[in-house]
Symmetry: C3
């Protein structure tokens, strides 16, 4: 091989490496983005949470879809923040809402512009007995567990949440445990503006929750057989 050929060959290997390294950095960034979401939500930092989304982002929560910046703010800032902290952006004495994020599966598209991520969330929620004003219909203390299957997008080099799809699978009263509890969150029945906190759209069918059991579809194929989930 002459020098120019050797140089061209090396340039092409470096170009390939550059793409691979960028994808690894992307995967690290996407995982961190989701874990940071968890840390913000722990402490009712809703302003910090909503700015993790892109303008055309959406949140799927229970059987509702909250669309765009307006819909996402309605969910976190109008509904959750007023409900949990009386409108304060930050933690409240005696309120427990820990969102443990774990078991990350992040897959970045070849072009590095989108990514998908599956995460598990274990939630420890409740109110301390010393709280003066109780939060209406909020259980005293409970476990909650769900699976995220999210979509992320890179805009101007910055990873953002495009779709946060939270699949709440079970909730359990702390004292009773999961053997003796159903979920306390129930499907929504009305959209916004009929319900001022309502979603922009309702899913055709409410996802099943405990004691029903369901598989949250995997965004990835089986890592050995290559079979996509749901494929016959």
């Amino acid at each position: 091989m002459t020098d120019p050929d050797a140089l061209a060959a090396l340039e092409s290997r470096v170009a390939a490496l550059t793409r691979q390294v960028a994808r690894l950095e992307d995967a690290h960034a996407v995982k961190s983005l989701q874990y940071k979401y968890g840390y913000y939500i722990d402490k009712c930092l809703y302003d910090e949470a909503v700015t993790l989304f892109c303008d055309s982002g959406e949140v799927r929560f229970l059987n509702g879809i909250y669309r765009g910046r307006t819909g996402i703010r309605r969910l976190y800032c109008d509904w959750f923040r007023k409900y949990f902290t009386g409108g304060v952006n930050g933690p409240r004495r005696g309120l427990m809402l820990d969102h443990l994020m774990l078991q990350d599966i992040v897959d970045v598209a070849e072009d590095g512009l989108t990514a998908k991520g599956r995460f598990r969330c274990l939630l420890q929620g409740g109110c301390h007995e010393s709280m003066r004003e109780s939060i209406p219909n909020f259980p005293r203390q409970f476990w909650e567990s769900g699976i995220y299957e999210n979509i992320y997008v890179k805009e101007d080099g910055v990873w953002k949440v495009k779709r946060l799809d939270y699949n709440m699978l079970w909730q359990a009263d702390y004292d009773q445990g999961w053997a003796n509890s159903g979920v306390h969150l129930t499907p929504m029945t009305r959209t916004y503006p009929t319900d001022p906190n309502g979603p922009d759209e309702l899913l055709p069918e409410a996802p099943k929750t405990w004691p029903e059991a369901r598989v949250v579809p995997f965004h990835y194929p089986h890592p050995v057989t290559g079979k996509r989930w749901g494929e016959p």
Copy 2:
């Protein structure tokens, strides 16, 4: 340095980088493989779990070794699947078997053909009170915790589980907690085919479980001193 020398030097740096990047991609793939195992097992997707193994794979469970595809299918598809779901490959209403996977330590061999991984598993198990038929000898609701020290192998570019070594350390009845519970799973006493669900081999000694305490040997040396576990 003349151009050809400079080119050769650069080629060698690119070759080194190529290996490093491949090892980073391998580590990501191995972690994802194990986390995917956890998501499959949550939902009794045993067909999906067993195909994560290589042909010569094995599972160490309690004091038994299940060998090869036949042994692994005996454990997951003959034993677990019949026991938990009556033979259905998928989740069962009212059955809780969440396998939370976390705290990954993955080390890939220099040649990129094998890897070792340590993971923690926290299990939330049980049956909902509304289940009509109870699962014999399965506790109503419990916690379980264990440490994996696994071996992985890359075959034709695909990472597979070579040895899944699950060290169950404790189980606790949900109502009683770990202070007042021992484990409900007991060591096996017979191999296959005497026990139709039995392992191919029994370990010489059953690993100790709660309230006994033991260190699951670390596959990695101490990251600062470099001392291997068990070295004097």
Copy 3:
């Protein structure tokens, strides 16, 4: 572009890639370091834990700062080890101290010499009812949760803990749950040597714990807006 220019351009790209790959390897190493700390601490392997620190390391625990190798050994080997295992370096029958580490956010400095990491820890602690000698003032069984915001340093190519800053946020008696529990660990009032297990320094103010709520400052800026935590 002539060949020498093309070669120089490629060399510069390879140099950039080399730095990027090193940072990815660093992030992997730092995460593993912290997760290994968790596995050692689970099993009262205090000698293994203290050698994860650099000579000028420190630990922030409750409202105390333990400084340098001497201070760190005082905390782990003089205080904890004597208290939990009667001085044995290793697990004790009937003692539960699982430190679940998760939700890693690791950021490595450009020069690859320091790093910061945020981690969540969920602790399952207690003593089995069959333990003959109880541990004074140690609760029967409890949950604990905290956030680490740590600093790491690379010395001679080896990552070490520079500052372990553990922010214990809540503890809950297992039977009562977090709705009905406060923390059992209380702030320290005296430094070493007045208190033989005491820290080298007390923080000006004891960090708030449950049912008080606080945000552990984030070492990273908001990943989308770029705003640093605490900035107006």
